[in-house]
Symmetry: C2
Subunit: 236 residues, 2 copies
DNA sequence: CGTAAAGTTGAATTCTTTCAAACACGGTGG
DNA sequence: CCACCGTGTTTGAAAGAATTCAACTTTACG
């Protein structure tokens, strides 16, 4: 009822309930009301950019289906992957709504997003939405902080295991898994840029994980071969 | 006026303007109005915990003076430092206000905080505050993401340089620096737990940075010896 | 003054990166 | 149908970065 029961499952690292309340709020509004604010669905094909860093993007998106990745190019040309956005989740909200976006959003799978321009106006009309935004932002924050602490403290093996479990749980929460398998469009280079490793090392580590019977990535599909062992590795 | 001019200073990594708008909003309210909601100042001495992870903490804090550090113990006993909270900044807001806090807050210096219980009630009375919370959360998010990307991708030397510059700029913004020096209560172990390094390696790296004339930490005071070189190292 | 906390050092080991090269696979054009 | 091309993946060897462990020194503080 209040989401507490979900959090007592011991999934200490993932945040499967992310944005749930927000989306419920948002999506329960009458569609005519939202239409008035220019809220509408848009489709993107895989590898298509929704927007680039530097664009003036005053819009807020909810991903309805697909997979979106948020990236940024650092000053020295390195690509940094911020995070993956999965169906039901929110993205595009940033501090200064008047400022250019600090990251790019690219669709990794064919995706449908719900776009909301005029966030400020929307909040003015429905004040409770502002609180939802705050909650959603705090939720993102929690997730990012977990990535931060895990990634900074542990081995490549554990980082990858953490990321895999985290993504798996978020998808599972929405019923987007097939048993222990999920559709997985991330390339080894994406994983590397997300976790701060080299492609080569990601490759070797993935092999080791497969040899040890923990997980396997094949043909854009990720299969968790030993869920318990993976949890133990991540330390939860 | 709108904060945009502040962001054009080229401080690509730090977020000196953090929480500024929020605090302005909040602190400009008439004190009687806030008193009605139980808003009040509290003092803590150095090394004193404001609250522990697991506590039921439904409160929001603004740090007025001092230095607060947010930490968490992971399942395997390792301590993880989330971030430092500096004067003028907000902390304590988390997704599920009804849930126990996911981190501890400890004062590293004698500190004064402004405590606001009943956040939800407060937001109901003053809806624009909710939007401020969302902005503040987004701001924290941006900072954390910058830490994430910097820390995951670069060497210990650069991580430490980044952290130092970031803290320096946040303090400088409030005029809490003395030239190129700031009060610096973080111990080498805190730095290690924040950046995911060992104390030993932090120690060696700090020495190297000092030998190279970049920065120096002595008697709880940090001095930036070569600001330009530090910026170049961090890559901004 | 004595104890605990914080900082320092060296040597050996482990983890991760770098560089250079090869392989696998799907799509395209001839 | 096959050669070609590009993207993504794989491998080896060597160098570099960071950790571990164990011990020692200095500083802070009651």
């Amino acid at each position: 009822m209040n989401g507490r029961s979900n959090d007592s499952r011991g999934l200490c690292y993932s945040c499967p309930n992310r944005h749930f309340h927000f989306c419920k709020n948002l999506l329960n509004g009458s569609s005519t009301e939202f239409d008035a604010h220019g809220v509408k669905n848009m489709s993107f094909t895989a590898k298509q950019y929704l927007y680039h860093e530097g664009d003036m993007n005053h819009e807020l998106f909810v991903l309805r289906e697909g997979w979106v990745m948020l990236t940024r190019l650092s000053e020295d040309g390195e690509r940094q992957v911020f995070r993956s956005v999965l169906p039901g989740e929110l993205f595009g909200f940033q501090v200064h709504l008047q400022e250019p976006s600090i990251y790019s959003a690219i669709a990794l799978l064919d995706s449908v997003v719900c776009r909301m321009p005029n966030i400020i106006e929307l909040c003015a009309t429905r004040p409770e939405l502002a609180f939802s935004f705050a909650s959603a932002a705090a939720r993102d924050m929690m997730l990012t902080e977990r990535y931060l602490t895990h990634i900074t403290h542990y081995s490549a093996r554990r980082k990858i295991a953490f990321m895999v479990l985290e993504l798996y749980h978020r998808l599972q929460r929405r019923g987007l898994n097939r048993e222990y398998a999920i559709q997985f469009p991330l390339k080894q280079e994406d994983i590397a840029d997300m976790l701060g490793l080299t492609v080569i090392h990601v490759n070797r580590t993935l092999h080791a994980l497969k040899d040890d019977g923990l997980l396997e990535i094949h043909k854009r599909e990720l299969t968790i071969l030993n869920y318990r062992a993976l949890c133990i590795l991540v330390g939860c």
